[in-house]
């Protein structure tokens, strides 16, 4: 079976990981959602015909509540900013959890997820900073002054990179797509590199982000097909599933249209909408885990096992010497 499919299965069979992350992520998103609920409850109150603002907020509503709405969105934006930081920390934590669970033959243990998250948090946090730095570099290359100077000004011959000197909109659109695609590709590469680096750090129990990162970089260069293929396939799968869900969701939203003045409350359509939204979020998280599973599968074949003594870490420490029962067995006997 192709690696991307086995990875997908491996991730899906670990609800302890994606379920926990999903709960955490949804708990974060609940805060702005509650802000919105409270505001809408007050704004709609008994002033509007039931159902009239269910599918879309009409022009008059948006106009009359523009000020309140603006305040609400500003509040949500502020709260979301803080939540984004928490989410990134959650990511740093959950990546260790995912890897720990994927390495474990008993995938249902939430305890292992937290143990893995805690164990690798410090080193993955350092890696996270490296990721931000590399993303900035990608931005400088494709979205900054360098792009303007090299591509727009020198290559295209547009003074000061001003696109109004272009002959046609098509030229500008194509260049924009190329730029966006390169930036997107660059960012994706950085994130994939980070994923393989984390996997290597876990497999080799490495603490050095620099060493692991450099080695991963070399690995990606040496084996671009073997490393990229499962990731690309997973991305295709994710895109296809999200598109499918998206169109289902749009269809479901359509069920909320035209209910003003009718007896229908739109509850069924609304619940369907919620279900599809939840499915979308869960799907993304499972596919995220699948990437780790794929990275682990690839790394197990390509990354040389650590040459050190597997007993070294197990002997001594609190509780006395520990002896594994078999290779790869997480159980141990404490003497």
């Amino acid at each position: 079976m192709p690696l991307f499919l086995t990875s997908l299965g491996a991730a899906a069979r670990r609800p302890a990981a994606w379920g926990t992350i999903l709960i955490g992520q949804m708990a974060l998103a609940l805060l702005p959602a509650l802000l919105a609920y409270r505001w809408f409850d007050g704004a709609l109150d008994s002033s509007y015909l039931p159902g009239s603002q269910l599918f879309a907020l009409d022009t008059a509503f948006r106009t009359d509540h523009a000020e309140g709405w603006s305040q609400l969105t500003a509040s949500i934006a502020t709260v979301s900013g803080w939540l984004a930081f928490v989410a990134m920390m959650l990511g740093v934590f959950s990546s260790g959890g995912w890897l720990r669970l994927l390495l474990d033959p008993n995938p249902r243990s939430a305890r292992l997820f937290f143990a893995g998250g805690a164990r690798y948090f410090g080193r993955f946090l350092r890696l996270f900073l490296a990721v931000l730095l590399l993303m900035h570099v990608v931005g400088v290359l494709f979205k900054g002054g360098l792009w303007d100077a090299v591509v727009l000004e020198s290559w295209m011959g547009w003074p000061k990179g001003n696109s109004e000197f272009a002959d046609s909109e098509l030229t500008v659109v194509r260049l924009g797509w190329a730029q966006d695609a390169l930036y997107w590709g660059g960012i994706s590469m950085v994130l994939m590199w980070a994923m393989f680096t984390r996997t290597r750090m876990v497999l080799q129990n490495s603490r050095s982000v620099f060493v692991a990162g450099s080695a991963t970089f070399w690995l990606l260069l040496r084996h671009p097909i073997r490393t990229l293929r499962p990731m690309l396939l997973l991305m295709v799968v994710e895109t296809a599933l999200l598109l499918l869900l998206g169109y289902l969701l749009r269809w479901s939203q359509g069920g909320l249209d035209g209910l003003a003045g009718t007896d229908s409350t739109g509850r069924i359509a609304f619940l369907t909408l919620c279900l599809l939204s939840f499915a979308g979020l869960a799907l993304r998280e499972i596919l995220h885990g699948a990437r780790y599973a794929a990275a682990l599968g690839v790394s197990r074949r390509l990354v040389r096992p650590v040459g050190n003594d597997p007993w070294r870490d197990r002997v001594g420490g609190p509780g006395g010497p520990q002896y594994p029962l078999a290779d790869g067995d997480e159980f141990s006997v404490v003497m």
Binding site: T59, A60, L90, G176, W184, L242
Partner: protein
């Protein structure tokens, strides 16, 4: 050539300076400027022209001669100087009227409260504004527009110059990298004076000079930015070489008398208005033929006119005669950024000599009648209106004529030709045809002639050509159905080239520019919205040609009103979209994600680093890991899953724009006198549209049984028919419209309050509905004593309506409270004025037949109150709907609203209320806040959850992506 031009220009500039110094510097009505203003102007003017005077070599006598001559021409009427020497002289240009007549005219000016002159303005529009001169506004005068005629024959030669070519034309900066064009032209103008005045001089527009420098009135008013771009290069100009009056005795050169004028906005750097003297006064009924020669450099298009690469859109590209109005003299305003055009009707015969690359690529007002290619040149001739148009009988009985000529050329154009056929559209909208027939009657011919619609699009927009046509055809159909047929055989839709979008969205006779971008969808109303609007201008300003400088709302506002109606009927609401790498996704983000410095930090968009001044780096460095980029944004936001649908009704969109600036200026105000650009645009476009759209509700609420919509359509039809190929002013519109709509003088307040006032209105509804509690306590027993009630309701055989104190007035209730025993058990309609005669202060009465039916066993105690905020008072219906489906409707009359700012209704009912709505049919687009216009017993429990879910999903997907950065 250059030196010669400079000398001539300098001579004229010095002359203009001298005029400023003179006490009698002329404006379009012959301005009597104060001496102080003249001296100040002289100083400023001399300062800017010092260098040219060295070239000019003009003697003082020459200059003084000009001054003396002008003084004689523009002698102010005696007794018209204002206090303290400030001028107020409404002197028409010399010749036609005696001083008494002029004074009579001034006194006949209605007693409209004089507007305070702005003392300063943030945008330059009012800065440096000349002191009042002449009749600032025609006020309530009827038929004040011109009836003169101007027929043009123009020959022009265009030469291209590209960077790298030798000998750049005068005014071209070879380093700016722009391709440029020069245009040398010659025109013959036959002007017929059909007014009652003798004319001694001719005033012209040279609007191309608005783009000659950044101190022109146009650029100053626009803060140097045209369509969002600061104009720093690509300047253009128009320089008149010669002016000759052609007569039987041969041409008379009047070039020496040419003077640039600065009426309305006193700006010596502006050269958009000039005048020449006529050798002989032109008597009423006489005609004169004028020959002009000019050189010009076409500007890089930044607004409306100019070139970009080999694309060109040329409007106001030739010296164009201003308008001489009866009693007002020459109406020749400078080209201001807030305004458009005004010109006499006539015909155009234009021959263009252009580089051969433009063969088959030149399009213009009217029809191309000839094209000859010879060597590296192509000669193209246009006739506007075409011969067929001129031969066609217009519904007005007048000759179809035009008041402008624009042209466009681009070798890249993809030209697609379509034919609008009325039958096709009538089959698509039979109910509209039926309704129009019902409203206008059998006598009105609704069928419209075929029109060839030529669509010129850029190659990358070729797939949108048919959508442009559809939009133009929708305008041809609906405007034609409502306002009379489009009178010409051809209509050209122009899609400007990339980088020339500043030429887009502008109307000219038989040709207009639209504008689009790739991947737009019709559900966005792009480009349909702008195309319908610009096509609609063929009626408003093209056919009914108001003075756009003074009454911009008469075309923009009435057109905005109509285009939204067309879009609403044709396409319905538009859908909002978010763009990802130039591709639209239907829906809207509901909330932002990270705002301010902390937001950028926590979402990893920007980490500000310490200043690195010690390294010689002045700018503050920052780390920007996450940037906005189409594909990445799409992946991050998952728009299919997270966007919320958003629809916009174009009619309500006008209201939204109106509320952006609802009470700063009145509608009927010169654009240059508006507080700012925003106020001008709001009043000119959105507020006018909103007012017009609210009028049906006013009529319906004022006149019982009246069809307000039909009345408004009849009024508009009357206006657009009567003023076809004429120049109406506001009072003409009010008068003609009212006549057509069947509105009597009792509706004058509407135009006065809405067009010449700044009032707003907001009704606020409050409803209390409680179950009646059981009666407990000691109650009058009817015999002077008390009886104890312990919770059981006591019914009488014939309950008397209980009269309580009138609320709001502080006085006892009128004794004429509803006498409907058995109908109203305990009802009090304190301030309910119903069924008033429009325009009269109706008595505060209640329609008994409409009073809530009070049942024998009332279970609910209901109190409804409506408050009015704002100074406007408009009659409004209030509708009550009960759970059993019965409906009661009241009208809170205008007179009652003027008397009291609130209305209250209290009664008991066996049936609970289901809803109460003020303006239930949503006809009052003027309402500033509709959120408090309705009350419903059932609340929507799902909607808040639904919108919270959308926010939840949006935030969740973004958090997921942010989480991915961490691992």
């Amino acid at each position: 050539m250059k030196n010669k031009n400079l000398r001539a220009a300098s001579a004229r500039r010095v002359e203009a300076c001298a005029e400023l110094a003179s006490p009698a510097s002329g404006g379009f009505l012959g301005v009597w400027r104060s001496r102080a203003a003249g001296l100040l102007g002289l100083g400023a003017c001399l300062g800017t022209t010092l260098w040219t005077s060295a070239w000019a070599l003009q003697t003082p006598e020459t200059v003084l001669g000009g001054v003396q001559k002008q003084s004689a021409e523009t002698q102010p009427a005696e007794g018209q100087a204002g206090e303290g020497g400030a001028e107020v002289a409404p002197v028409t240009q010399a010749g036609a009227q005696t001083e008494d007549e002029e004074l009579d005219a001034a006194q006949a000016e209605p007693a409209r409260a004089p507007r305070p002159e702005p003392t300063a303005g943030p945008i330059g529009a009012t800065e440096g504004l000349a002191a009042p001169f002449g009749l600032e506004s025609v006020g309530r005068a009827l038929g004040a527009g011109s009836n003169n005629r101007a027929d043009y024959r123009i020959e022009a030669r265009l030469e291209a110059w590209a960077p790298g070519d030798a000998d750049p034309p005068v005014g071209v900066d070879p380093e700016d990298g722009l391709e440029r064009f020069t245009l040398d032209g010659r025109l013959e103008l036959e002007f017929q004076n059909r007014g009652p005045d003798r004319i001694e001089e001719l005033w012209f527009h040279a609007y191309l000079n608005a783009y000659s420098n950044d101190r022109s009135t146009h650029l100053v008013a626009a803060n140097g930015k045209l369509r969002g771009v600061r104009m720093q290069d690509g300047w253009g100009y128009l320089d008149v070489r010669a002016v000759r009056i052609l007569g039987d005795d041969g041409p008379v050169d009047v070039t020496e008398s040419l003077r640039y004028e600065h009426p309305t906005v006193d700006n010596p750097d502006d050269r958009t208005v000039f005048r020449v003297d006529l050798p002989e006064p032109l008597a009423p009924g006489e005609a004169v033929t004028v020959e002009l020669e000019w050189d010009s450099l076409l500007p890089r298009v930044r607004r409306r006119t100019g070139t970009k690469g080999d694309f060109m859109l040329l409007s106001h590209w030739f010296p164009k005669l201003a308008v001489h109005e009866p009693g007002r003299g020459w109406n020749a305003h400078p080209f201001h950024a807030f305004t458009e055009f005004y010109a006499d009707f006539g015909t155009y015969d234009v021959t263009l000599d252009m580089p051969v690359e433009y063969a088959d690529s030149v399009f213009a007002t009217g029809r191309r009648v000839n094209e000859v290619v010879g060597g590296d040149r192509v000669e193209v001739r246009f006739q506007a209106p075409s011969a067929a148009d001129r031969a066609r009988a217009d519904v007005s009985g007048r000759e179809p004529v035009l008041h402008d000529f624009a042209l466009t050329a681009d070798p890249d154009y993809v030209a697609k030709s379509f034919t609008f056929r009325y039958a096709d559209w009538a089959a698509r909208f039979p109910e509209e045809v039926e309704r129009a027939a019902q409203i206008f009657g059998e006598d009105v011919q609704l069928e419209l002639p075929d029109v060839i619609v030529e669509v010129l699009v850029q190659p990358e927009h070729e797939v949108q050509a048919e959508r442009h046509y559809e939009a133009a055809a929708a305008a041809l159909f609906f405007y034609g159905l409502w306002y009379g047929p489009y009178p010409f055989e051809r209509l050209t839709v122009v899609d400007p080239a990339w980088g020339a979008s500043a030429a887009g969205g502008m109307e000219y006779p038989t040709l207009f520019t639209s504008g689009t971008r790739m991947f737009t969808k019709d559900w966005m109303h792009r480009p349909e919205g702008v195309t319908v609007h610009e096509a609609g201008h063929q009626w408003f300003q093209g056919i009914v040609a108001n003075n756009e400088f003074e009454t911009a709302w008469m075309d923009e506002g009435l057109n905005s009103f109509t285009d939204s109606e067309v879009l609403h009927r044709w396409l319905g609401p538009s859908w909002s979209a978010e763009w990802y790498s130039g591709l639209p996704m239907r829906g809207r983000r509901l909330a932002g994600f990270g705002s301010g410095v902390s937001g950028r930090l926590f979402t990893a968009r920007e980490f500000r680093l310490p200043k690195l001044g010690w390294m010689g780096i002045d700018s503050r460095p920052s780390l920007r890991p996450v940037r906005s980029s189409g594909f990445l944004d799409w992946w991050r936001e998952q728009p299919l899953l997270s966007l919320a649908p958003e629809r916009t009704d174009p009619r309500w969109s006008d209201r939204r724009s109106y509320l952006g600036s609802p009470d700063r200026d009145d509608i009927d105000r010169w654009a240059v006198h508006a507080l700012d650009r925003s106020s001008h645009y709001t009043n000119t476009y959105a507020r006018t549209a909103t007012v017009m759209r609210s009028l049906p509700a006013v009529i319906s609420a004022s006149v019982p049984g009246a069809d307000g919509d039909a009345a408004v359509r009849r009024g508009m039809r009357e206006y657009t028919t009567e003023w076809r190929f004429r120049h109406p002013y506001p009072q003409d519109f009010f008068d003609t419209f009212s006549r057509g709509a069947g509105l009597g003088p009792e509706f004058e307040w509407f135009f006065e309050d809405l067009f010449r006032g700044t009032g707003t209105i907001d009704w606020a509804l409050s409803v209390q509905q409680n179950r009646l509690s059981k009666e407990r306590g000691l109650f009058p027993d009817g015999s002077g004593g008390f009886e104890l009630r312990t919770g059981e309701r006591v019914e009488t055989d014939a309950p008397e309506p209980e009269i309580v104190a009138a609320e709001g007035s502080g006085e006892p209730a009128a004794d004429d409270s509803p006498e409907a025993p058995g109908q109203v058990a305990k009802s009090e309609v304190a301030e309910t004025a119903l069924d008033e005669t429009p325009g009269t202060d109706a008595e505060l009465t209640e329609l008994p037949s409409l009073a809530p039916q009070a049942p024998p066993e009332a279970k609910y105690d209901i109190e409804i109150s409506v408050r009015r905020a704002g100074s406007l008072a408009l009659p409004v219906p209030i509708r009550l709907e009960f759970e059993d489906g019965s409906v009661q409707e009241y009208v809170w009359s205008r007179s009652d609203q003027l008397e009291r700012r609130w209305w209250r209704l209290r009664f008991e009912s066996a049936e609970p209320l289901r809803s109460v709505q003020v303006d239930p049919d949503a006809g009052y687009f003027l309402e500033t806040d509709r959120s408090n216009n309705g009350w419903f017993s059932d609340t929507d429990e799902v909607a808040p959850l639904r919108w919270a879910e959308r926010v939840f999903t949006q935030v969740s997907h973004r958090l997921h992506w942010q989480k991915g950065l961490g691992g």
